[in-house]
């Protein structure tokens, strides 16, 4: 896929994502029925849960792209991993802000050692390390390898971290949407949560494509600069698709 196509797909997905985001906010504030036991505050759910799903999805992409990058050494895969990691940080940050706000009103405390909340916090730190390793390495190529190793090792450990955090007793409600016997929700609530999930998946994919395209252009600019300083080197054929 040429960079031009990538950007166009990014624009289209972004517009759709923003439109759906506006729609689901209307649903959350004006349309969906208020939950019986928790009241108004339960509406945070429609922001909290989709953000968590999208964040985990993003970190899945990071792990996959990092592993294949180490395997094949294809620079594009590292661009993709980094773009996904940035998106993942944004959405886990949303989870980590909306979670405590909700917990304060629903459970009477800002923080509990609730398994999924704890796992999200740990993921946030694992990927903080992912960015720190990259930015504090002088050699660009080594920084990429370091970051990819951190991404893969982090992902390998997630099942064990998951088991550990679940070992502590859970205050968190059991899954209500992702169940084998179908969502256990009022249909309007299910509609809202799926609208929100769709909206943020699109927003994430759009951000992901833009960041990916930007990373490719940066790499191209670096090569042009290197070719200017050393005329024996030429920028790769990617120059053809850059305006």
């Amino acid at each position: 896929m040429s960079l031009r196509t990538v950007r166009w797909v990014g624009v289209v997905l972004g517009f759709l994502g923003v439109a759906l985001t506006i729609l689901f906010h209307w649903q959350v504030f004006f349309w969906v029925p208020t939950e019986a036991s928790m009241g108004i505050v339960q509406r945070i759910f429609y922001i909290h849960l989709p953000a968590a799903w999208v964040g985990f999805f993003a970190f899945g992409i990071v792990a996959l792209c990092s592993a294949v990058y180490l395997w094949l050494g294809e620079e594009k895969l590292d661009h993709a991993a980094r773009a996904a990691a940035e998106g993942g940080m944004i959405f886990t940050t949303i989870v980590l802000t909306s979670g405590p706000l909700w917990a304060r009103l629903a459970w009477g405390t800002w923080w509990t050692w609730e398994p999924r909340l704890t796992l999200t916090l740990l993921l946030w730190f694992i990927y903080l390390g992912y960015f720190l390793v990259r930015s504090s390495t002088d050699n660009l190529d080594r920084g990429r390898k370091f970051a990819a190793v951190v991404g893969v090792v982090g992902a390998l450990n997630i099942p064990l971290i998951h088991m550990s955090v679940y070992w502590f007793r859970s205050l968190h409600p059991q899954p209500v949407v992702a169940r084998v016997d179908g969502p256990q929700l009022h249909p309007d609530m299910a509609t809202t949560v799926f609208t929100a999930l769709g909206a943020w998946t699109l927003v994430f994919l759009s951000l992901f494509l833009f960041r990916y395209a930007a990373a490719r252009l940066e790499a191209y600019a670096d090569r042009v600069e290197a070719a200017r300083l050393d005329p024996s080197r030429t920028p790769t054929p990617e120059g053809a698709i850059v305006p």
Partner: protein, 226 residues
Amino acid sequence: MKEYFGQIWAIAAKDLRVELRTRERVAAMGAFVVLTAILFNYAVDRTVVHPRELAAGMIWIVISLAGLLGLGRTFELEKEDGALDGLLVAPVPRDALYLGKVLANSVLLVAVTALTVAVFALFFQVRLPGNPLPLAGVLLTGTVGFVALGTLFSGITAGTRMGDTLLPILLFPLLVPLITFGAAATADLLAGLPPAESAYSLRILAAFTLVALTAGVGLFRFIVED
């Protein structure tokens, strides 16, 4: 196969010989353990809780921090006078180099772990179980897992500008399973519960160690090549 183990041993023996002659890391970690235990004594209000009741968790925290202190130095020495380049041109596979480093670091950290338990037993009247084998098994498995992950990451941090300061940020989020199940098993064994109660925790610790070693063997070559 025999050659491979010979290579691992050669790397480990080199590191241990350096340590035996300088005694830098062991001295630093050992002093750290004793001094932390002393500070811990003053950090706890004995009228509220006896330090012994917190011992299992504290032992693991102290091992992690002392290990951090020692692991950070794994590749520092190799950076001097291009020693690492010498190692890399040696006809030794990268994973043997990694396993050799893990072996040497494990020997050091196991010694420090033993010292930690002894210090807690001495200072805080922690009663060691009659049969020390299950406790030793839990501590050994956990320590090797810690070293396996820490050696891989110290290879990364040695190549960054931030150096050792970055190591806890990379390492600590992944230590949750180790601390959770290590401390739980240690607490049960120190409380005199039958070892069968800790079998589950020991299995998870073993899984953690296995994952860490596999990741290290598979990924180490990406962080040292130049």
